[in-house]
């Protein structure tokens, strides 16, 4: 501890802490509100507009969700797609980034192809037709293969590989290693921070798979949690968007309450949120290392 703080500095420190605490609380508050609402009984939320401290904490919403097979199954689907998808994406991305970081013929051409996709996308209908004609519709691969390589990630990872000295690989060649051995034994182990960072990027993207699942998957049992989640949340407010006559027509089926929507959002957010702290340290390091070397 340094002792010679002036009063002003101390005051500034206190102010800083108070200010940051307030900002932090502001960030946490919506989460708390979601938690509180998800534990409120349906009867209480029906008469109150804003519940911060439920009279009684009930688990109705959670038991509804975990009894609805659809939601639980969709969680497993998403978890599976996330794990397989991120590993697959990492593998493809690094396998493409590595050769592009070495002196190979046509390197500029391939790089150009990658950069081209930064500017021009195919659009949804051609993409759909490709997925359809490759018979991927209604398979989980439709969620994994299209967009498996993110060109931005590819470029950054290539920068990272460029930073690994050529001397290392040359030494390996002298020892009789082939390209695949160099890649798996030397390059990949050295790139753990970068791989962790991009693994997290890919995992979050996979976890949030929504539009692709909606467009490519017809069988509701294969939908990801985001599709189901949106359905649950929208169902609880769908009447807003309908005209009077339509409301009259579908009034018989009662939508799940706000509490269920909140509970569903929490359940769908927590797993991927829980990943962050574990990958945080790699995360910062990995992205930075990749970006600094020119």
């Amino acid at each position: 501890m340094v002792k010679n703080h002036s009063l002003l500095e101390k005051l500034g420190g206190v102010l800083n802490v108070v200010l940051l605490a307030v900002v932090g609380l502001l960030m946490l508050f919506p989460f708390y509100y979601m938690i509180a609402t998800s534990f409120t009984s349906a009867a209480e939320s029906a008469t109150k507009t804003f519940v911060l401290f439920p009279k009684r904490w009930v688990f109705d919403a959670y038991s509804y969700i975990f009894h609805s097979k659809v939601f639980v199954r969709s969680l497993f689907v998403t978890a599976g797609v996330t794990v397989v998808g991120s590993v697959f994406s990492l593998l493809l991305t690094s396998m493409m980034a590595y050769p592009l970081s070495r002196n190979i013929t046509g390197q500029r051409f391939y790089l150009f192809l990658v950069l081209f996709t930064f500017v021009f996308g195919a659009g949804i209908i051609p993409t759909y037709m490709v997925v359809k004609s490759t018979h991927l519709i209604d398979t989980y691969w439709a969620l994994i293969i299209p967009g498996a390589i993110n060109s931005f990630n590819l470029i950054v990872l290539r920068q990272f590989f460029l930073g690994i000295p050529n001397d290392l690989t040359e030494a390996a060649v002298l020892d009789g290693a082939n390209d695949l051995q160099i890649f798996t034994r030397i390059i990949l182990p050295l790139s753990k921070p970068a791989l962790a960072a991009f693994g997290l990027f890919y995992a979050v993207t996979s976890w949030n798979t929504y539009f692709n699942a909606l467009i490519y998957i017809n069988d509701p049992t294969k939908w990801t949690v985001q599709v189901i989640l949106r359905q649950i949340v929208i169902l609880s407010q769908r009447l807003d968007s309908l005209s009077d006559g339509q409301q009259a027509a579908i009034a018989s089926a009662s939508p799940p309450g706000e509490t269920i929507g909140m509970a569903a959002i929490l359940i769908a957010t927590l797993p991927i949120l829980a990943l962050y702290p574990f990958l945080q340290k790699h995360f910062a390091k990995g992205v930075m290392l990749g970006s600094v070397k020119g």
Binding site: P146, Q231, A249
Partner: protein, 530 residues
């Protein structure tokens, strides 16, 4: 399953660089093209039907379930349904249609610009000649068919219901009685009632905590008391004899003047302009609101909950407010839409009349009306539609309640919409019988009585398809809502009314009015009372 996995893996291996290059033959099971059904036609006339539709069912009905088996057996078909939640359905449908992957049957919620475009491009089969043959379609009135016509031909089969539903203004009669007031018959009287409701402690708890008139963000439920005052009703005519939307007509001006007056006197809830309409329902259920809205049959969690209201205000008596007599002598409510959800058939089936017939028979079968007093296990048809008592639904106080978690698995009506909404005025009177509490029963009875005796104005724009109206009406209505909200708060003077109307015209309102009137004239349609 395993085969699929293996072949999928193969694809992955093949498609390392260019996905489009690969076409695998080992993967036939995953999705069948929509036209591959001719082969099966031969044996027993069994036809396979690709059925693509949106749904509000939760969980979403799957492609293989007990209900699908039931439908297959009943109609001797191979029913291949695909359902997408309606809130995202539009996007997926658009992608499917654009890529030429058109299913045999396509469902939509309502007529939109896409419907018109696809019909004009020849994606759907014109159905006029078929539709005269079925009971359920004969029951659909002309003005409903009008709304589905593109270039004079009908392409969609609507799920029709009697159009008297929808939210209607209601009032706390016990408050009227307590303050010795009578039912208001015009805005002036209503103003006095609302002032009294707000200031004279109608619930007698000694606190100033009541809301006379429920008003929500965006003037969500339009406080109109008849066709003359309706925002979206094309009732009034302008100087050159054209019909114009209610939002810029005299009726709305009177309504806004009334609201601005209440605002000036401080009677409206202070934060109404940012209050969600759902919160007003909560306040109503808490017994704090005097005038609000509800519909025949009730609306569950998104409406008045009479059991909750009874706990909070044991003496509450809710009745509808009859429409006011308008300055031009008219008196009556508006009919807007009279159907919800429709089916189209792919034009690819034009050489397969047998298949088209089978599809139409199926839709007709599902659209047979069942009176509310017939909705019980003894009615075989209803029991089949709803998946059987104890499986798809259960009886509670004489009313069939769907069992939510089973329904989409066992009930055929979760797949193909039934015409199970009320079809005739008489069915309005079944609602009181189904009511759960005595108070709700008496409310439903008084609402049915009122709707049964009222005249209804058929909104003429519901009978034509105007692309301009579909494109612009939301934006224009929002503009009027914003400006009139300002007027109520006094931020914009009421004397600016004509100027606002002019702005509305300049923002595209004039084009809309011109197009609508041209189309009305071409189709010989006028506004009429029924």
């Amino acid at each position: 399953m395993r085969n699929k996995l293996v072949s999928s893996l193969l694809i992955v291996a093949l498609s390392s660089s260019l996905l489009a290059a690969c076409s695998s033959k080992g993967n036939e099971g995953s999705e069948s093209p929509s036209t591959a059904d001719n082969a099966s036609n031969a044996k027993d006339q069994k036809v396979s039907i690709d059925w693509f539709d949106g749904t509000w069912e939760d969980p979403v009905p799957g492609p293989s379930s007990e209900a699908v088996t039931k439908i297959n057996e009943k109609f001797n078909v191979d029913f291949k349904p695909q359902y997408i939640p309606f809130d995202t359905y539009e996007e997926k449908l658009a992608v499917k249609m654009a890529s030429g992957d058109i299913p045999d049957v396509i469902g939509m919620e309502e007529v939109d610009a896409n419907y018109m475009k696809w019909a004009q491009q020849g994606a759907f089969l014109p159905l006029d000649e078929f539709l005269k043959q079925y009971e359920s379609t004969k029951a659909v009135p002309d003005y409903a068919w009008d709304s589905l016509k593109v270039d004079g031909k009908v392409y969609g089969i609507p799920t029709y219901f009697s159009p008297k539903g929808g939210k209607k203004p209601v009032i706390r009669k016990d408050w009227l009685d307590k303050l010795h007031l009578k039912m208001p018959t015009n805005y002036e009287e209503l103003k006095q009632v609302i002032i009294a409701f707000t200031k004279n402690d109608p619930d007698g708890n000694g606190k100033n905590d009541t809301i006379g008139l429920g008003l929500a963000k965006g003037i969500y439920y339009d406080p109109s008391f008849g066709a003359y005052y309706g925002n979206a009703t094309w009732y009034h005519k302008n100087g050159s004899g054209q019909l114009i939307p209610g939002a810029i007509a005299d009726g709305n001006k009177e309504k806004i003047t009334f609201l601005a007056d209440l605002q000036k006197q401080g009677v409206l809830q202070a934060d109404w302009a940012v209050t969600a309409y759902k919160d007003i329902f909560k306040a109503f259920n808490a017994g704090k609101v005097g005038v609000w809205y509800e519909q025949p049959g009730g609306s569950g969690n998104n409406g008045i909950q009479f059991d909750v209201l009874k706990q909070n205000a044991p003496n509450a008596e809710v009745v509808p407010i009859p429409p006011f007599k308008a300055p031009d002598g008219s008196q009556g409510l508006t009919i807007n839409g009279s159907w919800y959800r429709m089916y189209m058939i792919s034009a690819k089936l034009k050489d397969q009349p047998e298949k088209v017939k089978r599809i139409l028979e199926m839709i007709d079968y599902f659209h047979k009306p069942v009176g509310f007093d017939q909705r019980n296990p003894q009615n075989e048809y209803f029991d089949w539609l709803y998946g059987g008592e104890g499986k798809g639904y259960k009886m509670e106080n004489g009313a069939a309640q769907p069992i939510a978690e089973n329904r989409s698995n066992v009930a055929p009506s979760a797949y193909i919409t039934d015409g199970g909404w009320f079809m005739k005025d008489e069915d309005l009177f079944a609602f009181p019988k189904m009511a759960k509490t005595k108070e709700e029963q008496s409310f439903q009875q008084s609402l049915a009585d009122m709707l049964h005796t009222q005249k209804f104005y058929v909104n003429p724009t519901g009978r034509i398809i105007s692309p301009m109206l579909m494109e612009k009406s939301g934006e224009l209505q929002e503009y009027i809502t914003t400006e009139t909200t300002k007027m109520i708060f006094g931020e914009r003077p009421l004397s600016d009314w004509d100027k606002m109307v002019q702005e509305y015209m300049d923002k595209g309102g004039k084009d809309v009015i011109d197009e609508v009137n041209k189309s009305l004239e071409a189709n010989k349609i006028q506004g009429e009372w029924k």
